[in-house]
């Protein structure tokens, strides 16, 4: 019978669980979500590709048109790439609802913006 007092107290308290689809818990500040490349800072060096343990990052193509193809289904959100990047171009976003049914959609391509005409 040792729980009676506690059980009655709980009745008055607001439930600790959240109504998930309606109320969403926002992740903490330093949360390691899916990595995002900021292509302006990116030097297209392959440091992140070598640092990634499950080899989820691949640099495709050469020169300015090269693009980073990041396959999210291999990624394990360990933030090694963010640490290895000399220019800090990779940041771990806060998105964590990443479930999907089609692995094809899980490959993200990051390209550099084409240089505007007047700059040439």
């Amino acid at each position: 019978m040792s729980l009676v007092k506690e059980a009655l107290q709980q009745l008055r308290k607001k439930p600790a669980t959240k109504k998930y689809p309606k109320e969403k818990a926002s992740p903490a500040k330093g949360f390691r979500g899916i990595p995002v490349w900021d292509m302006d800072k990116c030097l297209l060096c392959v440091l992140c590709q070598n640092a990634c343990p499950p080899a989820a990052i691949k640099l495709v193509g050469k020169g300015r048109e090269a693009e980073i193809s990041f396959s999210m289904d291999r990624c394990m959100f360990c933030a090694e790439c963010a640490e290895a990047c000399p220019k800090g171009a990779i940041t771990m976003s806060e998105k964590f609802e990443l479930a999907g049914t089609d692995r094809g959609e899980m490959v993200f391509i990051f390209k550099k913006k084409p240089i505007a005409q007047e700059q040439k």
């Binding site: 019978m1 040792s2 729980l3 506690e6 059980a7 709980q10 600790a16 992740p27 903490a28 500040k29 330093g30 949360f31 390691r32 343990p53 499950p54 394990m76 959100f77 360990c78 933030a79 090694e80 640490e83 771990m92």
Partner: protein
């Protein structure tokens, strides 16, 4: 056995009492267990072979994923082995942060376990309360390491994130509220008569058997043997942080519960002490890429018991042989011993007694208790 031969009751690989796939085949005579046969390997992923193909840095993430609940213990052991192989000395502040995170994980793992034992005994309300309070620790982990379960905070040469002052205040506040919740659980666990009826005197393990069968961790300490890797063979910062090893005399399922809850109280005290005496300075040292030939054995006190990592390097960037022996594996003979001669209804509680973490254990091996009569263990 005469006419009434034993019937074989399969437990697992999918069974509500087992959180992970394991197969126990119980020979039940009437309502008491006569013999248990164990078949494991359902989550064996060949990690040891994997270590040999990965560089040291990437092997860290393999070690972290051996087990979800005690991954700090695995990364602490792994980094110790590799740092000793490479001859790297980590800064004192990193040692303290590792200890704090290791103790926090012990809190999280033990409270998870208390909830599961309560659920096995049908005490669902305590299960809900304990797991609700555990969320506070998971949130603390999320803020510090960025991950609720897999905290990639230990790395070769130190830790990746430093403890900021405001996180420290949150930690202290979290510890205060968690402490008095733990006192509450201790009171409930010791006083709730229905829970006592289901756990006291169930699954007895005598000290002699515990030592003879090489049991480890809370299962060993609940039988009255005072052995804890943190006190006997201190690693990271455990030699500078005072704590007392919790033991209990009765060696039954209740003792294992009480020992774990009291260990949570100890961990809270240790975290506070570590926060007060936190040295300042850098938190990371750059490790070399390759390790000179050598072999190192590191022992850590995972929440479930003594965890052994044994690494051997051959001068290249990849380990030559890496062996992990997890605490659940060492507790299996003790588990099989306590399972003989109990009621069928008590099996889940005794199974949960050693806090089995089969993904840890499976990563390597084990045993089919030779069928036939009970003589093997006393061989």
């Amino acid at each position: 056995m005469g006419y009434a031969s034993t019937i074989k009751v399969p437990f697992g690989p999918q069974h509500p009492a087992l959180k992970e796939p394991e197969h126990f085949l119980f020979e039940v005579d009437g309502d008491t267990v006569v013999n248990v046969t164990l078949r494991i390997g359902y989550v064996h992923r060949g990690l040891e072979k994997g270590f040999e193909l990965e560089t040291y840095n990437h092997g860290l993430y393999l070690a972290e994923r051996v087990c979800g609940i005690c991954n700090i213990a695995h990364t602490v052991s792994y980094t110790q082995v590799v740092e000793e192989l490479m001859g790297v000395q980590i800064p004192p502040r990193a040692r303290y942060i590792r200890t704090i995170v290791a103790e926090l994980e012990r809190l999280q793992s033990h409270s998870l376990w208390v909830g599961i034992v309560a659920h096995e005994a049908g005490f669902d309300t305590l299960f809900m309360y304990v797991w609700r309070d555990r969320e506070a620790i998971m949130n603390l982990f999320e803020e510090l390491t960025g991950g609720r379960v897999l905290h990639a905070i230990n790395t070769l040469g130190g830790v990746r994130r430093d403890i900021t002052p405001e996180w420290e205040t949150k930690l202290r506040k979290g510890m205060d509220s968690f402490e008095e919740r733990t006192k509450d659980y201790l009171r409930i666990v010791n006083s709730e008569r229905t829970f006592l009826k289901r756990t006291s005197g169930v699954g007895l393990l005598s000290p002699q058997d515990a030592v003879k069968l090489c049991a480890v961790g809370p299962t060993l300490r609940a039988s009255g043997v005072k052995e804890d890797v943190r006190a006997d063979d201190p690693y990271i910062a455990y030699d500078e942080i005072p704590f007392n090893v919790v033991t209990s005399e009765s060696g039954d399922a209740l003792a294992r519960t009480v020992v774990r809850v009291e260990e949570m109280m100890e961990s809270i005290g240790m975290i506070r002490y570590a926060l007060d005496h936190m040295p300042s300075g850098t938190i990371k040292v750059r490790p070399p890429k390759i390790a000179p030939p050598g072999e190192v054995l590191s022992r850590a006190e995972a929440p479930r018991g003594e965890l052994i990592h044994f690494g051997r390097s051959n001068g290249s960037a990849k380990p030559e042989r890496y062996k992990i022996r997890s605490p659940t594996l060492a507790n299996i003979p003790a588990l099989c011993k306590t399972l003989i001669g109990v009621h069928v209804a008590d099996i889940p509680i005794i199974l949960a007694g050693i806090d089995p973490c089969f993904s840890c254990m499976d990563r390597m091996a084990i045993v089919d208790r030779r069928t036939g009569e009970k003589r093997e263990i006393e061989k």
